[in-house]
Amino acid sequence: MLLTDSTRFAVQAIISHRMRSFLTLLGIAVGIAAVILLTSIGEGVHRFVLEEFSQFGTNVIGISPGKVKTGGQAPTGIPTTARLLTMEDAESLKQLPHVTGSTPTVWGNSEVEGNGRLRRTMIYGVDADFAQVFSSKVQIGSYLPRGKAGGSRAFVVLGSKLCNELFGTANPLGARVRIGGLHFRVIGVMEPKGQFLGVDLDDTAFIPAERALELYNREGLMEIHVIYAEGASSATVAAAIKNQLKLRHGKEDFTVVTQEDMLKTLSNILNILTMAVGALGGISLLVGAVGIVTIMTISVTERTNEIGLLVALGARRRTILGLFLGESVILAALGGILGLLLGIGIAQLLRLIVPTFPVHTPWSFAIGALAMSAMIGLLAGVLPARNASHLDPIEALRAE
């Protein structure tokens, strides 16, 4: 029997029981729609979180002092031998190939006093490369100037919110503010950057790292952030950084974390989340599959006569198996298409109603869902179709 004919025969059988077939494929449709919708939300959340993290650029590498490792117990009374990360370390990294910027980072929480007002806020000790590393822009004035090591001046750049709180609409440029016990002159205000995981990035002040070390009475940096050229391999750059710092420190007493590694780990976690919600949708898909098994079993019983006739007319067992399998696959695939439209439709509707709600349906999910529904049809059809193809034709013809 030709494939087109088998398909038509199966479709005719499906159409001859419109209502029943529709309800059966609705079962699959609901299942597929649930899977599509839930995985779309999972994928949307995935993208949302990754975007949150990569808003600073993905080509950033962080270096922090100390290395986590297991060893014997440290002798008491002797302080840790890990060398601190210094301003010179940060400076030396700027010379590495592919590296386009590197900023020392020290942060703390201090009171900022200016224009007669006082506000406690986050203080970042950085250098001129910071704006580039974290892709922030200056709104008015200028950013911290490049200075020779040891000669940085007491300038401060305010976050937009902090500026607003202290100065309101007044021009802050040139004003003097006091941070902790030190005095600074305002030379710029940053553009608003919004929130990151609930932390307000605009309620900040940026001062030269050396001043921050002084302010917080620290000897070493808390972190060095390095940005490298787009397209350069993060592994190569990370290796170069390690080499450079090992040369300077004599051993690896620091930790290098690339943004890429971090995002990859995060992405893996979120993928598992997506799969988990997808599996929940899969339960309703399973119910739909049971519906197909049921309806195909009924169909075989009802059409016993017809099966006997087909055998008498010279149909091979394989042909009969194929006809019933085809019917169940078509039924499931139609359900899959309906479910796909339903799922995508609801996802888009959600996006319209709640624009901030992250929903995303990748094409691979859509195609996967269709393939899955056809697969379900095949599996659900096997048992009834096998029964059909093993009927005794004499009994089948006699059945009423």
């Binding site: 029997m1 030709l2 087109t4 004919d5 025969f9 005719q12 059988a13 159409i15 001859s16 006569n305 017809e306 006997g308 006739l309 087909l310 055998v311 008498a312 007319l313 010279g314 149909a315 091979r316 067992r317 394989r318 042909t319 034709p393 004499i394 013809l397």
Partner: protein, 237 residues
């Protein structure tokens, strides 16, 4: 067996036993039968005499427990199921008491079914089906489903379907059983016309009048052939 070459069907020592619960039922006991091409045979006998089993066996829907069956000189007892399906498709036509039309298909699609199953291309099928519709006077009923056809029309569709691949033997199980006298007569004449064209016709029936029209009458009882009479060539009525 010298006559085997000329015979259409040769049954030799056929036995068929069914197990019903604990008891064994002998449906056929040592049946020997030789049928020449173009014969018109009526198989008669009471219920349970094995006549339907004989028909199913000749139609390759059933297998013998013992004995051999040769169709057109070829031993078909040992064929595998797919080969048997091919023989059924090409050499055997079935006509049933209850017509067995596929209810959701039109008359034309029902007639087309054996061609479709054999994998014939659509263009060739359409030609043959329209030819058959014309021959059986069903052209204006082609697009009707079986519930829109009268009993006589249904059986004509069934006959058109059974003969569209020009089988060597036509097996009819009570072909008039569900029809009134007039339409039954019409159907029988149709079958006899096919027989006149050279198709071997085997009719299983309770109906004495129908049986009497066949040139060769086989009576069965309790799984055995009790009489096998060939009358003089009969005149068309």
């Amino acid at each position: 067996m010298p006559e085997a070459a000329e015979s259409l069907i040769v049954l030799n020592g056929i036995d068929r036993t069914f197990t019903l619960g604990d008891s064994k039922v002998h449906a056929l006991r040592n049946v020997n039968l030789n049928i020449a091409p173009g014969e018109y045979i009526a198989v008669m006998g009471p219920s349970g005499s094995g006549k339907s089993t004989l028909l199913n066996l000749i139609g390759l829907l059933d297998r013998a427990d013992a004995g051999t069956y040769q169709l057109e000189g070829r031993d078909v007892t040992t064929l595998d199921p797919d080969e048997q399906a091919k023989v059924r498709s090409e050499r055997i036509g079935f006509i049933f008491q209850s017509f067995h039309l596929v209810p959701r298909l039109t008359a034309a699609a029902n007639i087309e079914l054996p061609l479709t199953l054999s994998g014939m291309p659509a263009a060739e099928r359409a030609k043959r089906v329209s030819q058959a519709l014309k021959e059986y006077g069903l052209t204006d009923r082609a697009q009707h489903r079986s519930n829109e056809l009268s009993g006589g029309q249904r059986q004509r569709v069934a006959i058109a379907r059974a003969t569209i691949l020009r089988p060597a033997v036509l097996l009819a199980d009570e072909p008039t059983g569900n029809l009134d006298r007039v339409t039954g007569e019409e159907v029988v004449r149709l079958l006899e016309a096919l027989n006149t064209q050279g198709m071997t016709l085997i009719v299983v029936t309770h109906d004495q009048a129908l049986g009497a029209r066949a040139r060769r009458q086989i009576r069965m009882d309790d799984g055995s052939i009790v009489s096998d009479v060939t009358s003089k060539p009969s005149q068309p009525t």
